[in-house]
Amino acid sequence: MSTAWDVDALLDDPSVEVIVCAGSGGVGKTTTAAAIALRAAERGRRVAVLTVDPARRLAQALGTDGTPGDAADDAAEAGAEAGADEGDAPGPDEPRGVPGVDTRRGGSLDALVLDARRTLDGLVDAALPPARAAQVKANPVYVSLATSFSGTQEYMAMERLGQLRAGRDTAAGWDLVVVDTPPSRSALDFLDAPTRLASFLDGRFARLLMAPVRFAGSARTSTGLRAAGGRVVGALAGGVAAVMDRVLGGRLLRDVQALVEGLDEVFGGFRERAEVTSAALRDGRTAFVVVTAPEAEPLAEAVFLTERLRSAQLRPAAVVVNRAARAATGLDAATARQAAEALRTGTTGGAARGGKTSAAAEKAARVLDLQVELLERVERERRLVAERLADSGAPTALVPALDGDVADLDGLRAVGDALGRNR
């Protein structure tokens, strides 16, 4: 079994500027990120937490549940001038102060929800003149890229992280950014996404697509590839263009080409920032917390992720095992079973003697059955966690299942306390 994690040592270390919570879906990653952020803030750090798709009640607790978009829609429906309300209140994807945080130790907590589409739109708007930005955003491939490309959310989480880190010198003055990562096909997507965007823009194929345009400025028209005609076929040697045309249809190729061209400028700045962010991820300023659950598949994913982090020279600070079962202490399964049996057969002496089991005895027996079940769970999970994480090399923290959904700051504090008690 690996060592127990000292979460407070990490949170109190001013050289730690970013904490990334990673893991497979459905293991309580968002809750863990929020709990770590709250604990850090109440220990005196100035924290921004970036969440991805929080449960409604958690979003309410963080004050990120408002949707100004809805308000604007309502106004439009009511016949008011569309857009009149825009720009008033910050959207859920802008950092907002979390109400109810204990700031006595000088800390603060701002929370925001990732909105990949708005972040990408913002990048395009910032990099291009309005007319060309509109053109890029209307490209069918862009729409598809913004909403369904498997790496877009991950990129935009990375971009947003970069923007938040830049906020350390502003009035907000965050000195710690806690990031929840998107629920991915695999937990590694967050790390792999930047490479994938690079392969989209810098790959051989994208360069081939760009080539004729660079050779012939006149081809940079809305008709795109077709206008470049023979030159394209020349550049895409070996009949690639012909094959692409036959298989995909010419229009897709034109759209992709126009988009690659349009985004090239947009991502110039992104690439620089991504490199800075990426460098920061690789030094001591960033800690990765791998979140998992005490079940075979999430644990396997967690081990895989810690190994991947190490091989990428990244630092897995801890593995947090959420929702661990617990049982009352001081009563082992054998004794509980015996007691339940005695109650059911009426061999306990006293009132129940005489054959017929009373309702109270049956209910008491079921209370004992539950203890047996919970002990079995605790035992199985302990074995599984010990076995799977034995060689992970990262400290671990077991967070017991709480008595209900984590739906308010007190719930988050309880999770934070469980992390702190882990030692």
């Binding site: 497979s24 690639v240 036959r246 109270a360 209370v367």
Partner: protein, 361 residues
């Protein structure tokens, strides 16, 4: 139990299993495949996300991009596994349909595209295309016959179970025709997408939604059900996984004082039987009983909460099927237990109408 589950309508041959991450999609997909094999059928279980969830669950070698035997069913059936990988699926597709596209002068289409980096581009990056390649391979497996022709012979697989992407992406994943019609207008891939879409929207397909009786999974399930319905994709059942068995409740009789007294009695008699070790003091036993009762109340609360989310899941407008929580975890025994459960009461399909609340096993 749902009356007439098997009598009504066509039996789907393609079962698509989706759900929020961590709800047990893969578990259901494999258990469903095992249950169908137990009825003597030859079943293919496909995964498309490169997670190797199926092999991890079964404790076998990682699945390759080829069909491998995984298990035999009690009724003489067989479960075959396949991990569909987009690059391999693209090469497969190009070689089957466009092998001669260059008229022999430039070699195979897939080789030409691979050299240009286009295979990587299409399979990994170009949005939508990746999905049509993945589903396209599943489509091919559903339609494959012993004679190799689509219009004759018997199907190679009696059923195909697809361990699909999670609810957040499922409609886009299955609704490939619409997006590609826009993106790749007129190309053969768009045509391929159209035939795939036709199968997905036919009565041969059932999309099952897996969730847990909790807020986020149920909310996502309702959203996905609405989206899938709007996209004309045929919904099978909503499967609520890991439903806890009921705890002893307040209305089970016995006053709190009498239950407490019974516990003290039971523990006392069990400890008298055990002659080793020191007997705990009376205060310790009282404290233990308090802990046990609290623990029971917490469980009863969770069960009540689960019932509420189970009811909420009915808003999807599909039959709701419960699967029990397995205290021993989903090991092989657990999987076969779920498979037996599914064999005894088959999953509702799109032809089944939801019964009134509480009418489902």
């Amino acid at each position: 139990m749902i009356a007439g589950t098997q009598a009504r309508g066509a039996t789907p041959r393609l079962h698509v299993v989706t759900g929020k991450g961590g709800t047990g999609k893969t578990t259901l997909a494999v258990a469903l495949a095992l249950s169908l094999a137990d009825e003597g059928r030859r079943v293919l279980v496909c995964e498309v996300e490169g997670r190797q969830g199926v092999s991890r669950l079964l404790g076998t070698e990682a699945l390759p991009y080829e069909e491998v035997d995984l298990a035999e069913g009690a009724g003489g059936g067989q479960v075959v596994g396949l991990a569909v990988e987009p690059r391999a699926a693209l090469v497969d597709y190009l070689d089957t349909f466009h092998g001669g596209v260059l008229g022999g002068r430039g070699g195979r289409a897939s080789t030409v595209l691979d050299r240009a980096g286009a295979v990587e581009f299409i399979a990994d990056v170009a949005p939508g295309l990746r999905d049509v390649l993945l589903v396209g391979k599943v489509y091919e497996a559903v339609r494959r016959t012993t004679t190799g022709r689509s219009d004759g012979g018997t199907p190679v697989y009696d059923a195909v179970v697809l361990d699909a992407p999670p609810t957040g992406r499922i409609t886009r994943f299955l609704g490939i025709g619409d997006e590609l019609a826009q993106l790749a207008a007129g190309g053969p891939i768009a045509a391929r997408a159209a035939s795939v879409a036709a199968l997905l929207r036919s009565e041969q397909t059932a999309v099952h939604l897996v969730c847990l009786p909790e807020e986020l999974p149920v909310t996502e399930t309702l959203e996905a059900a609405a989206e899938l319905r709007a996209a004309d994709l045929p919904l099978g059942s909503v499967v609520v996984n890991r439903v806890l068995s009921a705890a002893a409740g307040d209305d089970d009789g016995g006053t709190p004082a009498s239950v407490r007294a019974a516990l003290l009695r039971g523990l006392g008699s069990a400890r008298d039987g055990a002659q080793d070790g020191a007997q705990p003091g009376q205060d310790d036993v009282e404290a233990l009983v308090t802990d046990l009762l609290t623990q029971n109340r917490v469980r009863a609360g969770r069960v009540g909460e689960q019932r509420r989310w189970l009811e909420a899941a009915r808003a999807a407008g599909r039959p709701v099927r419960e699967l029990p929580d397995l205290p021993g975890g989903v090991d092989l025994d657990g999987l076969y237990r779920l498979a037996d459960d599914l064999a005894a009461t088959p999953l509702p399909t799109p032809g089944d109408v939801p019964t009134s609340a509480g009418g489902v096993a």
